[in-house]
Assembly symmetry: C3
Homo-oligomer: 431 residues x 3
């Protein structure tokens, strides 16, 4: 639970920051992360100017939001950005005018099916302004005139993203990606950020690692497109990435979910399924790529095709607090974050050990003289060594450890010490 | 419903004609078809002389039937070909003699499980004669002597078949085949003939078409064997035919059926299944090739192997009127024929659009600036463009449109306009 | 039932012999087998000296057991090898001393869940001694001192195994293997020995055979390892063996079982499943290779990989008498052995006929003029020739007879005469 507590504490620090796809909220978030990670790693922060072309897109203007409110009379605010950051539609342009109730209602967004929650709404790539409030508040608005104010600015600036590279013995990479663009919500997306940060600490602590690990933090969609396009990085990733995970909504404790890759059978799919089935399989939901919603969309796009999967606890769209004011620090917990960390750690461990193995002897070895087998044969007595024999008999130079695991119905986690025993006894070798 | 009415009217004209595998009934049928199609196409009629070898078979003698009856006393007919064409066994040789009741019963065929219907019986390749009546009539025959007369002739003549070729941009072909040998029955087989004729009109009306379309009309089995063997046509077809359909019993309105090809996974299987599942999937019956019964037998034979499928509404053998006097014009309907036409039309449209597609951008395109995507992001709002994004993410240069359709669970019919939108926006290309 | 009776009689002769992995019991067993087979075949017996290295193992010392007993007073034996051969732990070293009840209990083995049966226990590769008795007897032992005697010897000697090769038209081999190391138990393993012997007689009686048949008899595990390693025989087998069966516990009449090969889809798997499903499929149990327990372990080991399967009636481990004094001649029966013989015979017949077939004609042949088809066509009449047509339509030069059988849902046994009819009519050929 150490990691759970550390992650929750970090989430508490990050939660109140008002992030958007660009601007100071993201920069502040990255400054805190960099400090939190300390000398664990080099935390690289990048700025890409407004107007830069990234594939089919253009880096947008930077949005500055200073204040926003609605008042019935001067000084009588009925809604204020200072109290409730979600009350302004993201990327709203400035406005300062008096409107009628009818005019107001046209720019007010609510979530009618959750009448006491304020929805999170943004407006990308079209200049407009708007407010969000509860459906109940909207229903109770009195006729009359309202003063609406958005003190914001859309200016040439830059888009901010970050990455961390932890080199391994090979250039082959494992990608862990999360997004940094959601304001004042806890599960979506503080939880993803803090899990990625904790995984950096874990990977950095490994004495040796086969893979190079790449962590990416950026605004959803436009940030990842920028990341992939800048310097032709997508070519490098397409060559090197062997598996990858997009982290999203990993802080609650209601279950686990995988969003499969486009083909559904990549190394990413296989390893995450292996780990998820190892724990409480009845709590695991599998979603096909048709249910995708986060940056697995870009990483799996034709021509890029990294075959990454999404990892969630409660999947985005599926939990009631999703994209509302209710997604606060009570939705996530130390236990919830710890559970996600355990899964990702187990997935990394499985990948690090996922070699193709070949048995060394012809015919079963004599386990007895190696002290690995009972010397007395009676029915029912030798079940304990069964897994060892199963591994040997399936280590045929064609299956990797994940395939052996699937064939013999034992999770990779349990096979790792078995493999080590068999390697020490010279009974098995990496292909 | 325009096509349904036209087809039904044509069926009314063709129904009373007494067809057999050879002879004037087939020729009359083809004359009517040729006239009905007018200058839509070139309707080619072929005659192949008796005795011609066609693969393992020989074109049989031509059968002429002028009259047939049974009478108890001269002038008191109890059964007459003039009133009921099915009462004579097809290909009966001539006879004119008095027989006892016992002798009569030996040459009378009935359908004991449907005692008030007259079965349709033929005798190919063995010279005999016989009569068909209802089981009830047979049970009530009084002892005594009966005068049996078949005024027929088996003579050197020819076997008649026809085809229509509608050229497309390529030499690759779609084959549509039906048979022309059943006397005075409506669903089996007037319905197949009129659907094929209507499809000729539809294909001819297409402004452009990728495929060349080949329509074949001939007696079941021997006719198709003749068609394939004449001039080594099977070699041409084996090279060119990409998909094909044998039409049979397509005029009633009870459901839909596919008879799968020998391998079960050809382009023909895939496209027809796609279309059938698009409509009322609960009304669709899938039959394996083990249930084959019409000319899919020849087209799928080893060495020919065109991979065609059978298409029916109620499958032959399965509906109660099958091969009896009850298969009359009340069994088929405008609605039934229209439904079949709609399926075949949709299958052709799907084939014409079944290209391999590749997305043009790296990463998701910005749909918003193309007017293809809402610019406001709120949960639950953007479902409408989901299919468009699904197509893009699966357009990986490996899947054809049918495979994309299967992967994203949207019928090809709905994808055709989506593809056109995406092509117009330059977001996708044919491979 | 002739074979059942012959096998049961042979089992009666072999049952009382005290076999072990080495020694006179095995030699006596082989002498009897050789005599029983007479001039049917050459029965080769091999001796491999103690200390010979066989892959990862070493041929052990030969064990001689002359007597063993426990007595409370001189002359008052409470347990004696002469009455009950299972009472001494296999490979016990000599001992002759007085022990306390507590000391005795440490070397006494029982089967507590079957308190009135004596378990079969052996101690390979570690020098020790021990006794087996019923749990009831152990519970009733009185305090005091006991005289324990094992009059045995572990000496340099040899391991004995045997084989029979019945040459066929090709060098491709079918392997039938069983083990010869279990003392005084009937189903495990007299039944396997007598079935293999009967199969030798059957194979030898065949007028012609495509395959060469190799029968192997040796102690489980070490014997088969020795067999494979001697003279590099495993290389020959790896090249030649096309299918193989390990026979074990094939004498009772409770059901049938297959233990699948490591991959689960070899020719061995396919042919045995085809035959088992042909009989009483509801009595068949399929076990995956994870449930392996006999010499399929060595034959499937990585690098050897013969893809053999195990064949049992009640599988070892699963029937209550397994490895106890209750596995006597009442467990097996003439009917049980006959059933197993029928299965193996049918499997051999299927393998001998398992060619790839190709239809000779283009399009369906005219069966009528060959007398193979009714000349009168009426609905429901021609089902009898359906299988013949199914075979022709699936004989596409790609499928072997087993695949045709699986595709058309008719067991190979029923297809063999159909194939012969079609070959005689020149309608089909071996590829």
């Amino acid at each position: 639970m150490n990691e759970g507590k550390a992650m929750y504490n970090l989430a508490e620090t990050l939660y109140p920051i008002y992030r958007s796809i660009t601007g100071e909220g993201v920069r502040e978030t990255f400054r805190i992360l960099k400090e939190w990670l300390g000398d664990t790693c080099t935390f690289n922060i990048y700025e890409v100017p407004t107007g830069t072309e990234v594939f089919d897109w253009t880096v947008p203007k930077e949005w500055v939001i200073r204040d926003a409110y609605i008042e019935k009379k001067p000084g009588e605010k009925i809604l204020s950005f200072q109290d409730c950051p979600l009350c302004v539609v993201g990327y709203s342009k400035p406005v300062d005018e008096w409107v009628t109730l009818e005019e107001l209602k046209e720019i007010v967004h609510t979530q009618p099916d959750q009448p006491d929650l304020i929805p999170y709404v943004t407006s990308y790539y079209k200049e407009r302004y708007g407010f969000c409030m509860t459906e109940n508040q909207k229903q109770n608005l009195k006729p009359g005139r309202y003063h609406i104010v958005v003190d914001s600015e859309l200016k040439d600036g830059s888009l901010t993203y970050a990455d961390v590279i932890l080199p391994g013995e090979t250039e082959e990479e494992i990608l862990i990606s999360t997004y940094s663009c959601h304001p004042t919500m806890a599960n979506d997306n503080c939880s993803g950020i803090v899990l990625a940060a904790q995984m950096i600490k874990y990977i950095a602590s490994l004495e040796k690692r086969k893979y190079t690990y790449r962590f990416v933090f950026g605004p959803e969609t436009i940030g990842i497109l920028t990341y992939l396009s800048q310097g032709g990085r997508w070519r490098t990733l397409r060559e090197r990435v062997k598996a990858g995970f997009v982290l999203s909504c990993v802080g609650d404790d209601r279950g686990y979910a995988i969003v499969h890759s486009q083909t559904g059978n990549t190394l990413s799919d296989r390893v995450l399924m292996n780990v998820l089935k190892d724990g409480e399989p009845e709590k695991v939901k599998e979603y096909s790529f048709l249910e995708r919603g986060s940056d697995e969309r870009q990483y799996n796009y034709p021509g890029i095709g990294l075959g990454v999967v999404g990892f969630c606890r409660s999947k985005y769209w599926e939990f009631p607090e999703y994209h509302t004011s209710a997604d606060d620090l009570t939705v996530i917990s130390e236990e919830g974050l710890q559970g996600s960390f355990n899964i990702m750690k187990e997935a990394v461990d499985a990948l690090e050990h996922n070699e193709i193995y070949t048995a060394n002897t012809l015919g079963e070895p004599q386990m007895g003289r190696r002290g690995l087998y009972p010397t007395l044969s009676q029915k029912g007595v030798w079940d304990g060594v069964r897994v060892m024999m199963d591994v040997l008999l399936y280590a045929d130079g064609r299956r990797d450890l994940l395939e052996i695991s699937e064939a013999i119905h034992v999770p990779v986690r349990e096979l790792i010490p078995v493999i080590q025993t068999l390697e020490n006894a010279d009974l098995i070798r990496k292909k």
